[in-house]
């Protein structure tokens, strides 16, 4: 199969959905001629014109409000919020408006919209450009939350997100944009709410999101040599969550490590650990471990940044700890 960049998979998904459905359009800062600050909309302005690929002012409340209003009129807007850190200036619109209108209005509201954004550390961008804030959005009923870890998943999930009738926070990762992966030429979608076992194993389940999936697979490779067989499960959609797949894996392996870049405290991994500790109580041979971002703003210095963000070695250490009983 051909291999393409994660960011190009995003472009393809947007391109195909825009071609398929006239009500799909894009808005965001610098997404038009410039093609987006992470180049995830390159070529679309030329193809679809300035009505459907709209540069916006630097006004994230305005962007999200415009997205919601257009959706209410029956459009299917896909907005880009340049960094997930900038959701801070748009939280009210995302959380109090977008997520809640359907419920508040008793079900009568069209809210087919996608808020694309990207998060994560690794580029020395410091505290305001490197956060992983997915837990905030999973905590908000009314939103769906997607975090693709490969080009293949990014394309298939984004196409589903665009077709979905609910608001979707679609969270990409800045370091994955330049990773290549196999992506079929033919049209496909990946349903929201379906996890994928990225690698089968017997001794421990690693639940990993976004950038941590690749690091976990690399860790699993190394651990294999030591005779530790890791199963790596990527939920792909944080909500709706495929509890079944994760639970089944943990019941099989009897051990679990959860890893994400976000700060550990009240991170998404806490929810998974709490759920598994309850649902798989009788299956667990060891406490569940979390390998997550350290509890600090993300530092600028590369050495500090790589220290506070978990890497392959942290996953390996975590697995060893679980296996040896912490």
């Amino acid at each position: 199969m051909r291999e393409i960049l994660y960011r190009d998979a995003i472009i393809e998904a947007l391109d195909e959905e825009m071609r398929r459905d006239e009500s799909v359009f894009l808005l965001g800062e610098d997404i038009a001629e410039f093609g987006g600050s992470y180049k995830t909309t390159v070529g679309l302005f030329e193809k679809y014109g300035k009505e459907r690929v709209r540069n916006t002012p630097i006004s994230e409340q305005g962007i999200v409000g415009a997205t919601l209003g257009a959706a209410l009129m029956g459009m299917r807007p896909v907005a880009e919020l340049m960094y997930i850190d900038f959701t801070g200036v748009a939280m009210d619109q995302i959380v109090n408006q977008v997520a809640k209108v359907r419920y508040m209005f008793g079900g009568k509201a069209k809210t087919a919209l996608v808020l694309r954004t990207q998060g994560g550390a690794g580029r020395s961008s410091a505290a305001q450009h490197a956060q992983s804030l997915e837990a905030w959005f999973v905590h908000v009923p009314g939103l769906k939350v997607v975090m693709p870890s490969t080009a293949h998943d990014a394309k298939g999930l984004l196409k589903s997100a665009v077709r979905d009738d609910d608001p979707v926070m679609f969270i990409e990762h800045k370091l994955l944009y330049l990773e290549k992966g196999p992506v079929p030429e033919e049209d496909y979608t990946i349903p929201l709410g379906v996890a994928e076992v990225k690698r089968e194993g017997r001794d421990i389940t690693i639940v990993a999101t976004s950038s941590m999936v690749g690091k976990s697979l690399a860790a699993a490779d190394e651990l294999e040599a030591e005779g530790i067989s890791c199963e790596v499960v990527d939920p792909r959609t944080l909500f709706p969550l495929d509890r079944e797949t994760i639970l089944n894996s943990v019941k099989k392996t009897g051990r679990c490590l959860i890893t994400h870049e976000a700060v550990q405290r009240c991170g998404w991994g806490a929810e998974i650990a709490a759920t598994l500790a309850r649902e798989a109580f009788d299956y667990l041979d060891a406490p569940i471990e979390r390998v997550c971002g350290m509890e600090t703003p993300v530092p600028f210095a590369p050495k500090l940044e790589s220290h506070v963000i978990p890497d392959k070695d942290d996953v390996i250490a975590g697995v060893r700890a679980v296996i040896s009983g912490l």
């Binding site: 006004s59 109090n96 079900g107």
Partner: protein
């Protein structure tokens, strides 16, 4: 601008009375302990909703505020669904899930009251964007208060609308107070219409107690919007006759004293006199009208009272379209 015809004038008059009576009855019910939550009544401000919405059809859209009953009534929402919502019944516009601050009906172009001050403004811009993209001739009106004009959402929403020449009219109901706080405590500019200059769009102040004046000014702005000439900002100077919410005595900062002055300009009797002078209405027609409205209200309240309440099985529906 089209002159105010008899037909339109009577419709506006009726709308104002419909709003006033809705509010009065709702307040009575609230004070009798029949309605949960809290209420923000717009008594005194009826001329704005009535004058503006007289220009709107079902396909036109509005966004509203915590003080939204008047806009809803003026936009054509039915008493039944509104009272049922205030009573938290399944037959309410939001099935009892929204309440006073979230009444909405997409079929009639009501994109929601809003509990977040200023929250509707960017949404209105977005609806106008949707309309523009769909090549429709409809317009959006966004109502909000003077207090809301200090929120970032006001700035961002209007800037985007101006930039893209969206078919939307921003109507600030300037009643000089944000909750208990008088204007002097929240902004320096006296004329909110002046804020239009920050976006290069027309800004007009109008007497919000005069429905004919509101009708005229709104007509110009809405026509501009329909013609693709972009948004406008209207500042309607008005006053709510009651406190911020039902139960608030409104005594802080002399709001109650100011109200005494403003009540002399109550838009309903004033406009009634104007209609009488032109012989467009007489005591008989007026009585008929008021009777009809009161009967409708009785019926609607009765409907609401008799409507089923939502049950636990309803709590977890309507969160997602599909899951």
């Amino acid at each position: 601008m089209a002159a105010l015809t008899k037909k339109t004038a009577l419709r506006i008059y009726e709308t104002m009375i419909r709003i006033r009576r809705f509010e009065v009855r709702a307040i009575e019910l609230f004070q009798a302990g029949e309605l949960p939550g809290f209420l923000h009544a717009c008594i005194g401000q009826e001329a704005v909703a009535a004058g503006v919405c007289a220009h709107l059809g079902d396909a036109d859209q509005i966004t509203s505020t915590h003080r939204g009953h008047g806009h809803m009534v003026a936009k054509g929402l039915k008493y039944e669904g509104m009272f049922a919502e205030l009573y938290a019944r399944s037959t309410g516009y939001c099935k009892g899930k929204g309440g006073s601050m979230h009444i909405a009906d997409q079929d009639l172009g009501v994109l929601g009251a809003n509990g977040i001050v200023g929250g509707g403004i960017p949404i209105a811009a977005g609806a106008a964007l949707g309309i523009q993209l769909q090549g429709r001739k409809d317009v959006v009106v966004s109502f909000f208060g003077d207090g809301a004009s200090n929120e970032g959402a006001f700035h961002e929403g209007i800037n985007i609308a101006a930039l893209w020449r969206l078919p939307v009219v921003f109507v600030c109901e300037n009643n000089g107070f944000a909750e208990s706080t008088p204007r002097s405590n929240h902004q320096t500019v006296r004329d909110i219409a002046d804020r239009a200059k920050a976006y290069g769009i027309p800004g007009v102040a109008v007497d919000g107690m005069d429905p004919a004046a509101v009708f005229e000014v709104a007509g110009e702005a809405i026509t501009r919007a329909r013609k693709g000439q972009g948004p406008s900002l209207i500042e309607a100077r008005t006053m709510r006759f009651l406190g911020h919410y039902v139960g608030d005595p409104g005594t802080a900062y002399g709001h109650d004293r100011e109200v005494v002055k403003w009540k002399k300009r109550d838009p309903i009797p004033a406009f009634g006199k104007f209609l009488e002078k032109r012989k467009w209405i007489g005591p008989k027609k007026e009585d008929e009208l008021r009777d009809r409205i009161e009967r409708e209200l009785d019926k609607a309240i009765d409907f609401a009272r008799k409507s089923p309440e939502p049950g636990p099985q309803d709590a977890m529906t309507d969160i997602y379209a599909s899951i």
